[in-house]
Symmetry: C2
Subunit: 218 residues, 2 copies
């Protein structure tokens, strides 16, 4: 399908382009040059053009990029132009925070159910997603065409649940557990390790950087 290997760095930047294009679109901006966009986003115009040209020529010489068109094309590249059925494993605060976030639905991520071990939560419903016992996990996945699972459980049980998920045919795990999962090569794991993020912040507060440039800040 794809012509050549796209680097992880490029993919990481796509959602940010998407966000800025969405904002431009809401502002009513119809076209934008890589130079203007680069000034807004504080990246080089070269990088924007290089990144986009990994996926095709979306611009036009002398004109720039059509905001709405580019926005839609990036949505296609990211695969958020279609629907993904999602379940959340762990109905604690983090699981509930994810379930409550309406924007995910706007991007095509439909939360179909939540699973927990705590019987007090069974039957509770968050934005239409009901909490079930983990005993029903495999059955629900196969009967409801679930592709993505968000894992918001303690790391002690994460590996075991990840194995059950992949055996049930899950294609991707959004992993909030503080551990590295072991999965078959064709299953995607996207880690959100909050404690590692907080430690990076800690490093940076503790070793305050020099000013990035000599110019003036407004």
């Amino acid at each position: 399908m794809e012509e050549r290997k796209i680097s992880r760095a490029v993919i990481s930047r796509l959602p940010r382009y998407y966000r800025y294009l969405g904002e431009l679109s809401e502002e009513g901006v119809e076209r934008i040059s890589s130079k203007e966009l680069s000034e807004r986003m504080k990246v080089t115009a070269s990088q924007i053009r290089q990144d986009l040209n990994n996926f095709g020529g979306f611009g036009q010489q002398g004109y720039g990029y059509n905001v709405r068109y580019l926005y839609n094309e990036i949505a296609k590249i990211l695969g958020i132009d279609r629907q993904h059925n999602v379940i959340i494993i762990g109905a604690g605060h983090l699981g509930q925070a994810i379930a409550n976030y309406a924007n995910f639905e706007r991007r095509g991520f439909l939360i179909k159910a939540m699973f927990d071990v705590d019987p007090n939560l069974f039957g509770k419903t968050i934005r239409g997603a009901r909490v079930y016992s983990l005993d029903n996990l495999e059955k629900f996945i196969s009967e409801n065409d679930i592709q993505i699972a968000a894992l918001t459980i303690p790391k002690t049980r994460a590996l075991e649940i990840a194995e059950r998920l992949t055996k049930s045919g899950i294609k991707a795990i959004w992993n909030f557990a503080h551990t590295d999962l072991i999965v078959p090569y064709d299953v995607v794991v996207e880690n959100v390790h909050l404690s590692e993020s907080l430690m990076r912040l800690s490093y940076r507060v503790s070793n305050i950087d020099a000013p990035p440039f000599e110019g003036k800040y407004d």
Copy 2:
């Protein structure tokens, strides 16, 4: 203070080293070579040695690294050997999830208070952290020596709150709002953009990679 500029990539990897060393320590492992660690972590031994040597020679030829010692040294580098006073802006599910996460306290991040606009939440207490009105923000920060603020509010209000935070002397913002903050150069912003993480996952599910190597998986 620091001798030379440490790259962002190196800093990003430190918390993961820290996690693995903590696990090794719990397993009772006293020493480990860069080669053994590299096999566990699935990185090159060269990278481990290069990364660590940015901060000093923690190992010993012919022996390797003392697990407990290296663990403690990385804690110092990351600044998690001391205490940081934290407040959470936004007492919704995400804010509560963070407040409830006991591990942060173990790393020296003490959650001193939460702030919200919803009067129904005022007075509520989560693991000792009370929810206050945002009206009290500046006063609380200055009176309680707060260095770090976690921002778990909608993006519409994020910029305005970020400005109030930095004007009150906050040194770092852990930003969960889906927007890029504008802060003075000496204020650290660590972004956790969950929707961007989910889009990266979406890209990878939609463009399933080829197997990373030809060997066998166990």
